[in-house]
């Protein structure tokens, strides 16, 4: 049976839209418990993920294909709004995985949480926007899709209405977000003025012939700034720390693991074309009098500086943090710097490395935030020092968190090592000053080990301020909070287990995933050339 005959290639998007509407419908009908609306969200996301994976050509699922074989990675003529690329599908899978992890974990939230329908509904709406971003091949379509996600996430951050910290975080995020959106659209309009088209495919094809007036540079400049907000690049990151810290931690997990990657994929879409076609263009097609300056290298240098600045500042600030969530937030910013390396280098292997890094980050960072949310629910405080002895008191949670941190630090046999290895070696392969990007990345990785190791030390080698007695009896006021007998809840435990299993499985045997991503990246690069 060919599903494409009645559902078409947009089946995953339709599923998420249906899920959103269903959740809101439930809300109206009075079905509001976390378990019920959550189940709808998990189901819709999981189904959508299944179809995306099938479209990627995963062998046992090919009968579920929704995209006709010839349509994938086809260099379409004309100026379509969307295109099906395998890299886009990879990103759809990444976005859906992040959404799935968050919704699974959120099943363990209190059953009578009054915001549950709003939370799950908005989550799916945001995911829908993300899927559309992954399909976009038109500048305006792309920016509008980003807006869909952004508005949903502003609301997600504030969904607990009565928490003033969340409201404050949402307000900050909204104001800075609005500013960035304005800048993005301004940049897009400048580009339209220069190219007479908003189709990214058309720009990639014919943009080289149009030359590079300063107008183009201005357009790309505004776009960099606008998207840097979304991707949390330094110095456009400041909102992110407050938002990550202030938002309900499950929402933070979604912001860090999912919606932030939207910005990075937008970077892929928008900036890869100039970087690539300049490489192919004959010298001399330049707006500058010398005739030797081309758009691509200029953008590459700019993105490289942003990448190095982002990872360095993110890491240094992470070193100084005393609170777990803020440390993870800064770590997340520095990871965005690594990912940007892939775009600055702009070759297929580098793109594959960045994509793998983004893929890995979903499990490491989303998983870590979800775990923090669960541990915080036990009454453990926000400081890193509040985690003293947790590794021995809760061995499974300790091992899971340790694996996530080790993977973030890039220790071999975890996915974090493979992704960094592929990314940095691609930068070295590209030679030129890109080698220094790899060096900066390596130095930063070394730096980051310090603050990850500190958490491990606190978890495993430091006793809680006062030893909890085995019976859990509280003797005095100085006792650390006694951990409740229950675990994380089934949903959250499943999500964390899934993340840990993927961290280790892909770390030990990365070739299937890596091969798929490498192939997708090569297709993508060829599409633009």
């Amino acid at each position: 049976m060919d599903l494409s005959s009645f559902a078409g290639p947009f089946l995953p998007e339709i599923l998420l839209l249906a899920g959103t509407l269903l959740v809101f419908l439930f809300d109206v009908l009075g079905v509001r418990t976390t378990e019920r609306v959550g189940a709808v969200a998990v189901g819709a996301t999981a189904l959508a993920l299944l179809f995306v994976v099938a479209d990627l050509g995963f062998a046992p699922l090919t009968f579920l294909r929704t995209i006709p074989a010839g349509q994938l990675d086809a260099a379409a003529s004309g100026t379509p709004l969307y295109a099906f690329t395998s890299l886009g599908l990879v990103f759809q899978a990444i976005f859906l995985l992040a959404t799935l992890l968050v919704s699974l974990a959120s099943l363990s939230r209190p059953s009578r949480d009054r915001g549950a329908p709003i939370f799950f509904g908005l989550l799916q709406l945001a995911a829908l926007g993300m899927l559309l971003v992954a399909l976009a091949s038109d500048l305006i379509f792309l920016l509008l899709a980003i807006e869909v996600t952004s508005i949903a996430t502003y609301l997600l951050v504030a969904y607990t209405r009565h928490d003033s910290r969340s409201l404050e975080a949402a307000m900050k995020m909204y104001i800075i977000g609005a500013l960035s959106t304005t800048l993005s659209f301004f940049g897009a309009s400048l580009l339209y003025g220069a190219y007479q088209t908003t189709s990214l495919l058309a720009i990639a094809r014919d943009g080289g012939a149009a030359g590079f007036p300063v107008l183009v540079l201005l357009g790309y400049g505004f776009l960099i700034v606008g998207l840097a907000f979304k991707a949390t690049l330094v110095p456009f990151h400041a909102w992110a720390v407050d938002a990550y810290d202030g938002a309900p931690t499950d929402v933070t997990a979604f912001l860090a693991g999912g919606s932030k990657k939207v910005g990075l994929f937008a970077f892929f879409l928008i900036f890869l074309a100039p970087i690539l076609f300049v490489r192919a263009a004959a010298p001399g097609g330049s707006p500058f009098t010398s005739g030797a300056v081309a758009l691509g290298p200029v953008l590459q240098i700019t993105l490289s500086v942003l990448a190095v600045g982002t990872m360095t500042l993110g890491n240094v600030l992470a070193l100084l943090q005393k609170e777990m969530k803020r440390m993870l937030a800064y770590s997340s910013i520095s990871q965005a710097g690594y990912m940007l390396i892939g775009i600055a280098v702009g070759t297929a292997p580098a793109l594959a490395g960045a994509t793998l890094q983004i893929f890995a980050h979903v499990f490491m960072k989303t998983g870590a935030f979800l775990l923090v949310a669960g541990v915080t629910a036990w009454g453990v405080g926000p400081l890193i020092d509040d985690w003293k002895g947790l590794g021995t008191r809760r061995p499974f949670v300790g091992v899971a968190f340790a694996l996530m941190l080790l993977s973030l630090a890039g220790v071999p046999l975890t996915v974090g090592f493979v992704s960094k290895f592929v990314l940095f070696s691609a930068a070295v392969q590209a030679q030129g000053y890109f080698v220094w990007l790899a060096v900066a990345g390596l130095l930063n990785s070394a730096l980051s080990v310090f603050y990850y190791a500190r958490v491990l030390r606190v978890m495993y080698f430091e006793e809680p301020a006062a030893r909890a007695t085995p019976t859990g009896a509280v003797a005095g006021g100085s006792e650390p909070p006694v951990l409740p007998a229950g675990g994380l809840g089934y949903g959250r435990a499943t999500a964390i287990l899934l993340a840990v299993v993927l961290i280790v499985a892909v770390g030990v045997y990365p070739q299937p995933v890596l091969g798929a991503i490498q192939a997708a990246a090569t297709h993508f690069v060829n599409l633009g050339a």
Partner: protein
């Protein structure tokens, strides 16, 4: 099997109520022994098999000028003659030590930690042995190093134990860095400089087909290869405690005796030798490297033996002996006889583990490690005395004990090369002389501990044998200390050793053919035992150590030729001052900056506290500042850089 160990490592801590996880660990070690024995038996009954199983870990596409042939990193297992031998050693000694621990460690705290770490060690060690390429090898190499660090520092409340653990970690780390550099150099030579071939693409897999890549055959840059070989030697020297990185091993005796037996006698310290053997068989060393390896091995053999001669601590005597014996193996590998070296590794593992466990039995019984406090233990501890004697005879190279066959092979093998490599002469003589010292120091220890009428220190607890779990390992290892050497007469075993040597012109194993040489070494061994008996027999304590002439020598030896003092001095003056500087920077510059920022932000937030949107406008200001910065970059800096690069 490796996986099952990993499971113990993770699950062990949670088995506290199940005999502290000890019996579980023993069970898994037993299972591993069965698997290991089956693999080894398969290899021995059908020698010369190379069973390689691997999958692609990940691959990087070829890039012109950088990786001309691309690069494929694989992970896999290889069972070949040498890994089968090592696997047998690791699983047998591992199981025996695990069993012995049940009683020996019974009174200690933190047993779950102990068994978990020991299981993890065994897992890593078996992984190292069957790894099929250098990268994988390195990962397990680091893992065993970490386990060794944890286990040396097992009694972490004792300052000497935790400082010994740190020392071992730091000293072997020097070797590890060299090893890694060596891998990079080989990689660079073969994968980047190398001619177009399929080899670089499969990442240093140790399969027979790689032998054309032996140095000199494949070409490449010979200077680079020599340096790479030296780096590998450095790595091996760190792990196997060879001169000048030998200092950590005696101090590592701060760990439990079981750990000393398993890690610091039979298995982990042998990993360095194993690395040399593997490198020699699959990559090959240049002639310069070979001479250097011979020099390090030969010198260490003698040098370590001298330090064992005067030491009063029973475990440290055996530790120096380990360094010395590892020197023999290194010597053999340097002379081009990797399989002969591995044969000695094989026999040595059993008789050295036996010596350690016998010593452990003594320590368990009397509660001290000081030989001069012991005495007369022969009567209450007949089995232990016999076991220690068998181990001692094997170590001294007295036929028919195991050490004779393997040590004699080494001497004969090196002797055969003296004609073509006269530079080997001094090191051969040192190794030969060490035979005498070896026999002397080990029997000095035996006589001090076991002969005489009773303990010299009357406050010692009355001695007794351990329970059956401590006796069985002694009996098993005693049998192996006799039998493992005799295996050389089994044709299949000979074939095994020969097939390990491969087809690259490495001469065959020597039996005890050169009677004169054998006779001389046995005579030296007997003389050593005789001297020990004369000086220390029947509970005598020889007074030479008190005379003024010998005192400076004794002090020199007890102070280990002042090597440790020297390293400490370098450490104190060099590293410590760097650390002090770093600390200063940390305290004043970084902390100062942090506190400065803290104060700044505190002041700032105090001012902005009442205006909620103050922060957001700050962030908006960042955005605007960033916008300006991006435009400066885009419009001025980057075009300038690009035009410089393009125009220049």
């Amino acid at each position: 099997m490796v996986l099952s160990f990993a499971v113990v490592g993770l699950a062990g801590p949670r088995l506290k109520r199940l005999e502290y996880g000890g019996w579980v660990a023993v069970g898994f070690a037993g299972a591993a022994l069965v698997v290991g024995a089956l693999i080894a038996a398969g290899e021995m009954l059908n020698p010369g098999q190379y069973t390689n199983a691997q999958y692609t870990w990940f691959q990087l596409p070829a890039a012109p000028g950088v990786f001309p042939h691309g690069f494929e990193l694989v992970a896999g297992t290889l069972v070949d003659p040498i890994s089968a031998l090592m696997l047998l050693v690791v699983t047998v000694v591992g199981f025996v030590v695990m069993l012995y621990s049940i009683d020996y460690m019974h009174h200690d705290r933190g047993l779950a930690r102990y068994y978990a770490e020991l299981s993890l060690f065994l897992a890593a060690m078996t992984g190292l042995v069957i790894a099929n390429n250098l990268f994988e090898f390195f990962v397990f190499w680091e893992l065993v190093g970490v386990c060794s660090y944890f286990l040396i520092g097992f009694y972490y409340e004792k300052p000497s134990a935790s400082s010994a653990a740190k020392e071992a970690f730091l000293v072997t780390r020097v070797g590890d860095v060299m090893f890694l550099l060596g891998i990079f150099l080989y990689f660079y030579n073969y994968a980047v400089l190398g001619p177009a071939n399929g080899w670089a693409a499969n990442g240093f897999v140790f399969v027979n087909g790689n032998q054309p890549f032996l140095a000199g055959v494949m070409g490449g840059n010979s200077t680079l290869l020599t340096v790479a070989g030296i780096m590998i030697l450095g790595g091996a020297a760190g792990k196997s405690a060879q001169f000048p990185l030998h200092v950590w091993l005696p101090d590592a005796m701060e760990g439990p005796t079981t750990v000393s037996a398993l890690i610091h006698a039979a298995t982990m310290v042998a990993a360095g030798v194993y690395l040399l053997a593997v490198t020699s068989l699959f990559l090959g060393f240049t002639a310069t490297d070979q001479l250097l390896i011979v020099a390090v091995g030969g010198f260490t053999t003698f040098f370590a033996a001298t330090m064992a001669v005067v030491h009063p601590d029973i475990k440290r005597v055996i530790a120096y002996s380990t360094i010395s014996q590892l020197g023999y193996m290194v010597l053999a590998i340097g002379a081009g006889f990797a399989m002969v070296g591995l044969f000695h590794l094989f026999t040595h593992a059993f008789f050295k583990a036996l010596l350690f466990l016998a010593a452990g039995s003594v320590i368990h019984a009397v509660g001290t490690q000081d030989l001069f406090k012991m005495g007369g233990l022969r009567k209450p501890m007949r089995l232990t005395a016999a076991a220690f004697a068998i181990g001692g005879l094997a170590l001294s190279g007295i036929p028919p004990f195991a050490g004779f066959w393997s040590k004699d092979d080494i001497l004969a093998a090196v002797y055969s090369q003296l004609g073509s490599h006269p530079a080997y002469w001094p090191f051969f003589l040192l190794a030969f002389a060490a035979v005498f010292l070896t026999a002397y120091y080990i029997f000095r220890a035996w006589f001090l501990a076991f002969s005489g009428d009773g303990p010299r220190d009357p406050t010692l607890a009355p001695a007794h044998e351990g329970s059956w779990v401590m006796q069985v390992p002694l009996i098993v290892l005693s049998a192996l200390a006799v039998g493992s050497g005799l295996l050389i007469f089994w044709p299949n075993f000979q074939t095994l050793l020969l097939s390990g040597a491969g087809a690259a012109g490495i001469p065959p194993v020597y039996g005890p053919t050169d009677l004169l040489l054998s006779g001389a070494s046995v005579a030296l061994g007997v003389a050593g035992i005789g001297l020990a008996w004369t000086l220390w027999g029947n509970g005598k304590v020889y007074a030479l150590s008190e005379t003024s002439v010998a005192q400076p020598i004794r002090r020199l030896l007890l102070n280990r030729y002042y090597f440790k003092v020297g390293y400490d001095w370098i450490g104190a003056r060099g590293v410590y001052s760097v650390a002090r500087a770093a600390d200063f920077v940390d305290q004043f510059v970084i902390d100062g900056t942090v506190h400065g920022f803290e104060r700044m932000f505190a002041a700032l937030s105090e001012r902005l506290r009442r205006i909620q949107s103050g922060f957001v406008s700050d962030y908006a200001a960042y955005v605007v500042a960033g916008l300006i910065a991006v435009f400066v970059l885009l419009l001025l800096v980057a075009p300038y850089l690009v035009s410089m690069a393009g125009g220049g």
